[in-house]
């Protein structure tokens, strides 16, 4: 067996000074909850592993200039229990809470969830509805920041270049007036991969849908914003027809396939149903949440 080089920097400066030693074809890892199962299925080990899970600066959650930023190495467990997230962005805590089991959540990172780019990644629709940016750092030291909406290119393909590391995400908090929901349909309660998931951030003005962001996962090659639904909903007065229109519109946004976890038909059904349920609940609940 060939040797795999392993790098385990503890700080941002350690990380950047390592760059010169990193061989071409290195792979960044964090919690390894996607990496290890893939290796077990026979995916080849890279020449070197860059483990960023201990980089202090990448483990921070903070608010600056009315933007929340989350380091790539923040774990799902940390998101679930972080005060800032719970208060300002509960929909992300609820997405993170739905990931795997306690064991998984204590290792799985948000950076890994997005970098891995599984269509069913549970934090992806949430970050999409939050209009989050992805922060990238290349091994030549350059950084860039791109909207997550443009990050997922195709099934498991992203805009991240081979020499880039995700350092984190940032987004404006949805604000106290927003009604939010994360919904997940899995085959069981514990440690379930989404057959469909959805995040919704909705601002209403009485019976009118003022603004809405809806994203779905596991119903197409990539996690996606439901543009047709948003168009149909924005500015519309809540009614039964409104619900039907949105549930119909979602079928244009999604393109599910059948796999071991569920059929395309089932995915189409539940995507429409969880969307309709969220909209109904959003307007049934008098105040804002």
């Amino acid at each position: 067996m060939s040797e795999v080089k392993y790098f385990n920097p503890r700080s941002y400066s350690e990380l950047t000074t390592l760059f010169s030693q990193l061989p071409k074809g290195f792979q960044t890892v964090a919690g390894t909850t996607d990496f290890i199962p893939a290796a077990r299925r026979g995916v080849k080990y890279p020449v070197a592993l860059l483990d960023i899970s201990k980089v202090t600066e990448l483990r921070e959650i903070k608010e600056e200039n009315n933007r929340i930023s989350i380091g790539a190495a923040v774990t799902m467990a940390e998101l679930v229990s972080n005060e800032l997230i719970i208060n300002q962005c509960p929909v992300l805590a609820s997405g993170a809470k739905s990931v795997g089991s306690p064991l998984t959540r204590s290792r799985a990172t948000i950076g890994g969830n997005i970098a891995n780019a599984s269509p069913s990644a549970d934090t992806a629709p949430v970050l999409l509805t939050l209009n989050a940016d992805v922060h990238l750092l290349a091994t030549d030291g350059t950084t860039r920041q791109i909207p997550l909406a443009g990050f997922f290119l195709d099934y498991k393909k992203t805009a991240r270049k081979e020499n880039e590391i995700i350092t984190g995400f940032s987004f404006p908090p949805p604000g106290p007036a927003a009604w939010t929901r994360f919904a997940k349909v899995g085959q069981r309660n514990g440690a379930a991969i989404s057959v469909a998931n959805m995040s919704m951030i909705l601002k209403k003005d009485g019976d009118r849908c003022d603004d809405i962001a809806v994203a779905f996962g596991a119903v197409g090659p990539v996690p996606l914003r439901a543009a047709s639904v948003e168009t149909a909903a924005r500015g519309t007065i809540f009614s039964d027809q409104f619900i039907t229109a949105c549930a119909t519109a979602v079928q244009q946004d999604i393109s599910p396939i059948s796999d071991i976890r569920g059929s395309a038909d089932y995915r189409r059904h539940v995507a429409a149903n969880i969307l309709a349920r969220a909209l109904t609940d959003a307007f049934a609940q008098g105040g804002v949440k």
């Binding site: 067996m1 199962p37 089991s101 349909v185 085959q187 069981r188 309660n189 514990g190 440690a191 379930a192 991969i193 057959v195 071991i260 976890r261 569920g262 059929s263 089932y266 059904h269 539940v270 149903n273 969880i274 309709a276 349920r277």
Partner: protein, 763 residues
């Protein structure tokens, strides 16, 4: 005092298991924990095709790899093929199956072992496996039992037909029965192959003992496979020893040989110790599963709820090798109409070879499949005549003294009705939904499940009990402890009879060279068989002790008892004696302080093949489960709100363990009902890991409320019945019946996944 009238000190109480702490602390050494200095690692090369001709195997490159000690194929096995009467101790016709150690000439299933490699490290094994060149000629194969029965079908094995065996039962004339029915209900039910999903995969170590005995320490439910292993190696049976340490779950999956022959073969060929541990993928792909069945039920009922006719047709997928398929099918056939008194019965059943992974024993042994059939059918029939499901069952339950469809009179306790009434009472009023997308339903299921092996097998068990000079007690019994408390219950029994505490009893178990053979830990037979043997042995010692004391103190035996390490003289407590003192007295007088007892189960000849009439089982355990579910009509997800179960345990030996069995059984059956199923694409397993083969997690398991009736009417020690398998059988139909009640639609296929439920809802 006669032992029968005694008030129990230990039996029937909720006692922590004697092995619990060591397990919780991680100190128990399971088969896979064992390491031997210098041991080789053994891995199997598994077939990449479900049906193929083996043209050539070239192992030379693998053999040349440094660190490889042996690469073995079929030609290296002294007797690669043996005809086994699987697990059998008494010869009858028609139950033999081919046991093939390594694939030869023709591959029958995806994952079948083609070669094994023994090397210095697991990594070298992996490298070597890649270097073995196998030339296959892909064959078409057959994957559906109905297809496999058609004339001209692809032949899975070497015989002229894929049919393994068939049975029938005839009671009266069903045509006549149906003519008296007001309503006839007909349904087809399908149930998939499922895995045992034990925590510990198949594993073990082996070495050549200094005595020249090939010794195998493996995770198994049957140490008596030493006979089969010896046959494969061409050795006398007394040259192979099998040890079963604590087993990390069996559920029937370790009833057949798994790693044992491979390990023995490596020791035989190399003389070196070795270890083999299957991966989860190997366990899920290659090892025997619960049979997939297609069952057709046609039921005739009168308006007032009497079952007048039941016609059942069962088609079982045996998979690629026979293994225990005929036995399992017989279980299903005998139990096909469940714990009900039906006026006329016609059952026909067949099991057929296909190129799917072979199927064999799995908790319930054919009982779980048919229970799904008859209990779904009971609900459908009740609905058809507009009768409450419990009321309908009550009008048809079998009672003590009634005859089954096989003509067998149920002479022992039959408390099915009491358990049925009890569970519906425990379930209570149906919860009212407060959400528009949630519908709530309730469902129940009752079952009859045998404990103990089929009576024509003339089953026996042996146990040795002795009392040491300090009053501590030893039990030696060749049981395999698969986690259900098999050894702990023997400690309870010996402690109860000899007046000591459970901690004072050491149970040596599971070693063919040191413990008297006790048979298999299968068929819910261990408490019944070895419990009785241990009871018999302990009583013999007790008799010796009391007899000596009676003479010594000149007090009649009837006034003596053994309690809390003391000989108690009831009429004169001042003359009580320490147990240790009494034991020493006996020892110096040459009174026997040990006993080796054998318990023989009631033996019968085989049932009449033409009519299916006769006695097949010694006795049955009866019980019921009831479930309340909340179904989300948006997603089809069914959340269990309440789960209750009640059994006639006969006599619980350890209340805590008995409850644990019922709870575990409920969870096991719930997986069958709600999510489990091996999926195939032309014989290739599509869900070979726990990311895709789903079993219930702690988040999916509700609080399970259990209750027990203790009729004292079982054949086990103190009137105990068996709970291991019976406790899991009615779970799936109870779940599906509850879901059907909630959605007002029928679901006749397992598993009832959210997707299946949503589909039914929208049909």
């Amino acid at each position: 005092m006669s032992y029968k009238d005694k008030k129990f000190r230990i039996v029937g109480k909720p006692m922590p298991r004697h092995d619990a702490w060591e397990k919780v602390l991680g100190n128990t050494s399971y088969a896979g924990d064992h390491e031997i200095p210098g041991m080789l690692h053994v891995k199997a090369l598994r077939s990449a095709h479900a049906a193929a001709r083996l043209i050539a195997i070239d192992t030379s490159a693998a053999e040349a790899l440094e660190g490889v000690e042996a690469v073995l194929t079929a030609k290296d096995v002294p007797h690669n093929e043996t005809v086994t009467k699987f697990g059998q101790t008494h010869t009858v016709g028609g139950f033999e199956g081919l046991y093939r150690v390594l694939a030869d000439k023709k591959v029958r299933f995806y994952g079948e072992a083609v070669a094994i490699v023994a090397a210095e490290t697991p990594e070298i094994c992996d490298e070597a496996l890649k270097l073995i060149k196998v030339e296959y000629e892909k064959l078409e194969g057959v994957y559906d039992p109905a297809e496999a029965l058609k004339p001209g079908a692809y032949l899975v094995g070497e015989d002229e037909s894929n049919l393994v065996c068939q049975y029938k039962i005839r009671k009266g004339d069903v045509t006549d029965g149906f003519s008296r029915a007001d309503v006839i209900v007909e349904n087809t039910f399908t149930v998939p192959q499922v895995d045992h999903a034990y925590m510990e995969t198949e594993c073990g170590t082996a070495w050549m003992g200094e005595d020249g005995i090939i010794t195998i320490r493996a995770s198994t439910q049957v140490i008596e496979h030493f006979r089969g292993i010896a046959e494969v190696l061409g050795l006398p049976q007394n040259k192979v020893r099998v040890i079963a340490p604590m087993v990390g779950g069996g559920f029937g999956g370790k009833e057949d040989i798994t790693v044992e022959t491979y390990l023995a073969l490596v020791v035989y060929k190399t003389g070196r110790p070795c270890s083999m541990v299957w991966t989860r993928e190997e366990s899920l792909i290659c090892h025997g599963k619960r049979h997939a069945y297609k069952m057709h039920y046609k039921t005739g009922v009168t308006k007032d709820g009497k079952l007048v006719a039941q016609q059942v047709d069962i088609l079982s997928d045996a998979g690629a090798y026979v293994y225990l398929s005929p036995w399992i099918l017989l279980y299903s056939t005998v139990k096909a109409v469940g714990p009900y008194d039906v006026e006329t019965v016609k059952v026909d059943s067949r099991t057929v070879l296909t190129n799917n992974t072979f199927a064999s024993a799995n908790r319930g042994f054919g009982g779980a499949q048919v229970c799904f059939g008859y209990e779904r059918q009971m609900d459908e029939a009740a609905r058809a005549i507009g009768m409450d499901p419990l009321e309908f069952r009550r009008r048809n339950y079998l009672h003590q003294g009634d005859a089954m469809a096989t003509g067998r009179i149920l002479e022992n306790a039959v408390e099915t009705e009491a358990t049925g009434i009890k569970v519906m009472e425990m379930l209570g009023e149906k919860t009212v939904s407060d959400k528009p997308n949630i519908v709530i339903g309730q469902g129940m299921a009752s079952s009859m499940m045998s404990y103990g092996r089929m009576t024509f097998l003339h089953d026996t068990s042996r146990s040795y009990v002795s009392i040491e000079l300090d009053g501590s007690v030893v039990v030696r019994c060749g049981v395999q402890d698969i986690g259900c408390g098999q050894t702990s219950s023997l400690a309870s029994i010996a402690a109860e009879v000899l007046g000591v505490d459970m901690e004072d009893v050491t149970v040596f178990f599971g070693d063919t060279s040191l413990t008297p053979l006790a048979g298999t830990t299968t068929a819910t037979r261990m408490l019944y068989m070895s419990g009785n043997a241990t009871l018999k042995a302990a009583k013999a010692i007790r008799d010796n002790l009391l007899d000596k004391a009676s003479k010594h103190l000149a007090v009649p035996v009837a006034e003596l008892d053994l309690v809390n390490h003391q000989l108690v003289v009831e009429s004169a407590p001042e003359r009580n004696m320490e147990l240790e003192q009494l034991v020493k007295l006996c020892a110096s007088d040459g009174v026997e302080l040990f006993n080796l007892a054998q318990f023989n189960a009631p033996a019968r000849e085989f049932m009449d093949f033409t009519s299916g009439q006769g006695q097949v089982f010694a006795d049955f355990t009866f019980g019921s489960h009831a479930i309340e579910v909340a179904v989300d009509t948006d997603t089809g997800r069914a959340e269990i709100l309440k789960y209750v179960a009640c059994y006639d345990a006969g006599q619980a030996v350890n209340k805590l363990s008995a409850e644990g069995q019922i709870e575990g059984g409920a969870v096991y059956g719930l997986g069958y009902g709600a999510m489990e199923g091996i999926q195939y694409d032309r014989g290739k397993t599509l869900n070979p890991d726990f990311a895709t083969y789903l079993i219930p997690t702690s988040m999916d398991v509700p609080e399970i409320e259990t209750d027990m009736i203790e009729s004292g009417g079982g054949l086990g020690p103190f009137g105990a019945k068996g709970l291991g398998e019976p406790s899991s059988v009615p779970s799936a139909p109870a779940f599906v019946n509850a879901v059907c009640d909630a959605i007002g639609k029928s679901i006749n296929d397992l598993p009832a996944t959210p997707e299946a439920i949503l589909k039914a809802l929208e049909s």
